[in-house]
Symmetry: C2
Subunit: 743 residues, 2 copies
Amino acid sequence: MTNKQSTIVYTLTDEAPALATYSLLPIIRTFTDAAGIDVTLSDISLAGRVLAAFPDRLTDEQRVADGLAELGKLTQDPHANIIKLPNISASVPQLRACIKELQSQGYQVPDLPDDPKTDEEKAIRDTYSKILGSAVNPVLRQGNSDRRAPAAVKAFARKYPHSMGEWCKASRSHADYMNGGDFFSSEQSITSDKAQTVRIEFIGKDGKPQLKKELPLQKDEVLDSMFMDAAALERFFERTLRECKDTGVMWSLHVKATMMKVSHPIVFGHAVKVFYKEVFDKYGKLFEELGVNPNNGMNSVLEKIKTLPQSTQEEIEEAIHDCYEHRPEMAMVDSVKGITNLHVPSDVIVDASMPAMIRNSGKMWGRDGKLKDTKAVMPESTYARIYQEVINFCKTNGAFDPRTMGSVSNVGLMAMKAEEYGSHDKTFEMTEDGTMRVVSEAGDVLMQHEVHKGDIWRACQTKDAAIRDWVKLAVNRARNSGTPAVFWLDEERAHDNELRKKVETYLQEHDLNGLSIHIMGYNEAIRFSMERMKRGKDTISVTGNVLRDYLTDLFPIMELGTSAKMLSIVPMLAGGGMYETGAGGSAPKHVQQLMEENHLRWDSLGEFLALAVSLEELGIKEGNDRAKLLAKCLDKATEQLLDNGKSPSRRAGELDNRGSHFYLAMYWAKELAAQTDDAELADHFAPLAKTLADNEETIVNELNAVQGKSAGVQGYYHADPAQLEKVMRPSATLNQTLAKLNG
Amino acid sequence: MTNKQSTIVYTLTDEAPALATYSLLPIIRTFTDAAGIDVTLSDISLAGRVLAAFPDRLTDEQRVADGLAELGKLTQDPHANIIKLPNISASVPQLRACIKELQSQGYQVPDLPDDPKTDEEKAIRDTYSKILGSAVNPVLRQGNSDRRAPAAVKAFARKYPHSMGEWCKASRSHADYMNGGDFFSSEQSITSDKAQTVRIEFIGKDGKPQLKKELPLQKDEVLDSMFMDAAALERFFERTLRECKDTGVMWSLHVKATMMKVSHPIVFGHAVKVFYKEVFDKYGKLFEELGVNPNNGMNSVLEKIKTLPQSTQEEIEEAIHDCYEHRPEMAMVDSVKGITNLHVPSDVIVDASMPAMIRNSGKMWGRDGKLKDTKAVMPESTYARIYQEVINFCKTNGAFDPRTMGSVSNVGLMAMKAEEYGSHDKTFEMTEDGTMRVVSEAGDVLMQHEVHKGDIWRACQTKDAAIRDWVKLAVNRARNSGTPAVFWLDEERAHDNELRKKVETYLQEHDLNGLSIHIMGYNEAIRFSMERMKRGKDTISVTGNVLRDYLTDLFPIMELGTSAKMLSIVPMLAGGGMYETGAGGSAPKHVQQLMEENHLRWDSLGEFLALAVSLEELGIKEGNDRAKLLAKCLDKATEQLLDNGKSPSRRAGELDNRGSHFYLAMYWAKELAAQTDDAELADHFAPLAKTLADNEETIVNELNAVQGKSAGVQGYYHADPAQLEKVMRPSATLNQTLAKLNG
């Protein structure tokens, strides 16, 4: 309808969100086309990233562009406008499965070496390590984070509240964490007064400094160092197990092995070794020979021993069962399948598992399939304390009520790999006793820790520009929302005290008149926010990177029943914007259902919300009024969709993701046809609105008719696009209607 | 030594403190005499007050002066200097026992009528009602309250910490309170803009206002009204019992039937009727005929049914036991004797029972004599919430450590019968449904509540002068101690919002430069104080009257192991001062031990501390340097006494209260002889110091020799003074030494 002037990049990711894209993107393009906006697709799926990493091993036809690298460049462009869907933060088993699938499709990508020995193997391992875990977000999140519940979603949750388990004052559930020996208690922090390259060094028995890493620092950059005492960690696990045994409270472990991909698997491994101490004492040597890594969980033990003679396997399995006899009951991931908390490191992810536990009256599932009070073990105390505050609050005041509770939004310090989430390449598991230290360019020792073999030492960086932008974003959000903003900075943390100085300075760059801006320690901040929330009042949490992650699950899950419905905006430092569409959640289950029953229950609400903000901001930045109008009408369409119950059902044969997309298109077209700001645009969409409305029954029937039998999709990580398009667009009537308008 | 110029009034009270007075007062006089101070004795004992109330029924010889009335007048004298020892807040059973004892001694005081019918009986009942409960403090406390841990006592507690039970995060103990229907949720509050007499009226079915009470208000006086919904209260009790039964957590009730002598016995009575519902359903009529009043506890039921035939008694006892079958376990006052929480209303007093529970790891004693997690039921939520905060804090952070914890002192709004503690004559149990209202002199309805039969309605007054003085006292304490002061004023309370306005105004009358003064809600205030306390920092709590009472038990019991060692000063509005000597605590047990074993384990530390402040303030006010010197040397003597372990032992045959007095005298004399500020005074006390030191062994032997057999004291409430003097001063050597100096 108009010449293309601007571009929105839409990401092709994995699992359910990727499937949904095949249905939704053609609809989106039908609308954006009218505003001169090109929506391009960028493949950042796990399979895509694996393929892009090994071009030399592929045929010309097989080679793909490196979508992630291209997007990484784009983040530096002030015109960048990226809609980012949830993607897989691949664990080792997931990566292996993906590789296997690609190989079966004829792609000669290499295996992930277990124990790399040759230079080639090591190079392969290094390449894959950049694909493992949370590999996409650090590249794309070139800005701080602005997350909040969209008004429509909050209103919907108030009207149709999700279930919330009641809380009892006699509940025994609690959060437990180390009272010393953890990262929190050893944290040191400095601010570099100039640009310089510092050295991370280890001094062992021989007294000679070994260079672990050279680290370029910007002027005014904050650098922290800290370590987790492995012996203290194991004592802590032992204490928590003993207490659970004594009190009869179930034991559960909550870490973040995906995001904290270097340090947390090690922490998890210690838990495995302590819980199954007798097994590792007895079979440690054998396990070593087998290549068992406790950091990969008991599942890896069970897998590895399959190569042993049956009798040895049985012996080991008996030893494992003996542990259950004298250990407390452990929380289960799946009690039917016998999958415990210690089975796989990525099964229990603290920022999702703790809110789930809190929604479940503080209970988790026991071996007998019953919900039980639990000790939630989170070794690192830094952020774990906030969960104990929430538990105390719920015990005292009862569960939060989604019908009346206020909202806690977040402005998170995320830019430039801030804080712990950028620490992976500066994290070291000590191989001998000695001293870890950070030495300035001039040779001064800036920070220093005495460490022992097995301790986990790490450094974290936070760039001044990121902090300054974060403060600005917080002030803007406080101003635009008329809501009090609380900087979560704890006086007991060295890092936070460095940040606090900067925050106090940078706040002075803004007009704070009429704003309510606070600085509080974590305990005080969460209590303050909960007291307000309980009374229906909103609060902005202005936090560091990890708390951003935790709180934008915790509060949304209590408020909305899910964090997937949050608006998640990354106003990038370079001026562009990224619009994220919520968490993946139970996406794997959705794919399975599509494959078996051709029903996709994935809810694209996050995509609708992100697209609306993407369009709105594009409209403002590029002076594109039609984009703004599209955004406004899309928000109205989303509201109608929610109000009319046109979200996907869980059951095959009923409206699914595809049907929900149809309704969005229908409502969106209707709104555009009805608006009076732009007559030409109204005229353009009037026929579409009419055709879709007239054919509602036909289209829905076409969409639902295919359900109930296998979708015939081949491949989980890398299915054939043509096949997926066919599966995801089964309504000929809808396809033709859209094609007509585009024509 | 000098002419008497000034007077300290020392009170003769009841039980152990009264016994101790017979030993301590002669020693005190030996010292004060040297500073020209007369220490007079004023009898405000329960027996003394009973005798003073019925002069017409006594012979001329039997008649006594009304000590309390005289002291009441003295509080208006700017020269007043009163040392007030703990006295009995008599429950009905205690008053009955006292009357019986007096009658047995030939005093024709009347019985307390159960159910007064004639005018004479009603008059007797009215007279006794003024003696019942907390009758002394409201007369004497003509000022606000300044309570703190003396430096010597705090230092001693840090050095020799008392035991503190550990806390476990899995503890099920908690505080429970009403979430509606209580005084808190119905509170209304106004400030009278002029002096006027308002009317408290009830309007029943006939629509005609009945005058319940005329209430003169001063200009700017705050008046509150509120009610407890009896039906909601019974539902609440039923819920707490059901929850305990469901969760297996022990049930306990914590009220303050002594101090809240009108409303809390009624609340207690509802608990009795709900717990033993089936018993009261079945035997209610019979009980009524017998004159059973559930407000007096199950003990009164058991007493009253003794008049019934054996078979009926057994039937009722069986019905009581049936209740135990389907009710949860109840906390015991004495598991050996089978005395439950519901036996006697005054057995469990919230401000002592809750700190005891907190020191006991959140546990109370069960029927089997074991410590168990418990639901601490405190129906009125206003102040109960703070205990839940403490419990949450202890669960999360572990028990407080007396060796390192900071101190929370208190400035309490107590003057002029402030708040709830002055509400007894404005408290009404509704006898029918209707409206309670407060009407201004001009006829305007100021406050109004819809009430039902059984509801407890009350009004509370707080005088402007008292508030203004309280603010001044808080600022002075903050200034003199260099400690942050927190006004505990809750935004959710109507009363506190009225007070807050005044506090903000009156704070402006003072130089606040360099002071740290906060205003916080209760939850925030206690959390703030505990966070500081945990880190060894001190805080002043500036609170209303009830919180004053609660907190000056709670914090001292955690910090010092007892509240009896606190400095408790009442700087009176008229300019005088009253110096209280700590709580009575387990005084009855002490008397029993004296009677049986002639060993008095009462610790007079509170008297020593109060006397020192009394002397110091007298010295300042009257320009009496010797008084100041006496005070200084007394504090040093007290420190030595603590450091040398010369406090009373619990066991007969070892140092007791009397021996401790001897050591105080010895150390005090030594300090006075050693000081160089006043040579004449040093010379005066040198011989005493020498004689006491020389005869230490003899005197201690004489004091201990009498122990181990019955003291032969006749009478608990009104023993013969001559006999008591003989018992309490058994050392001829000590008596002669003191007499010589006085001579």
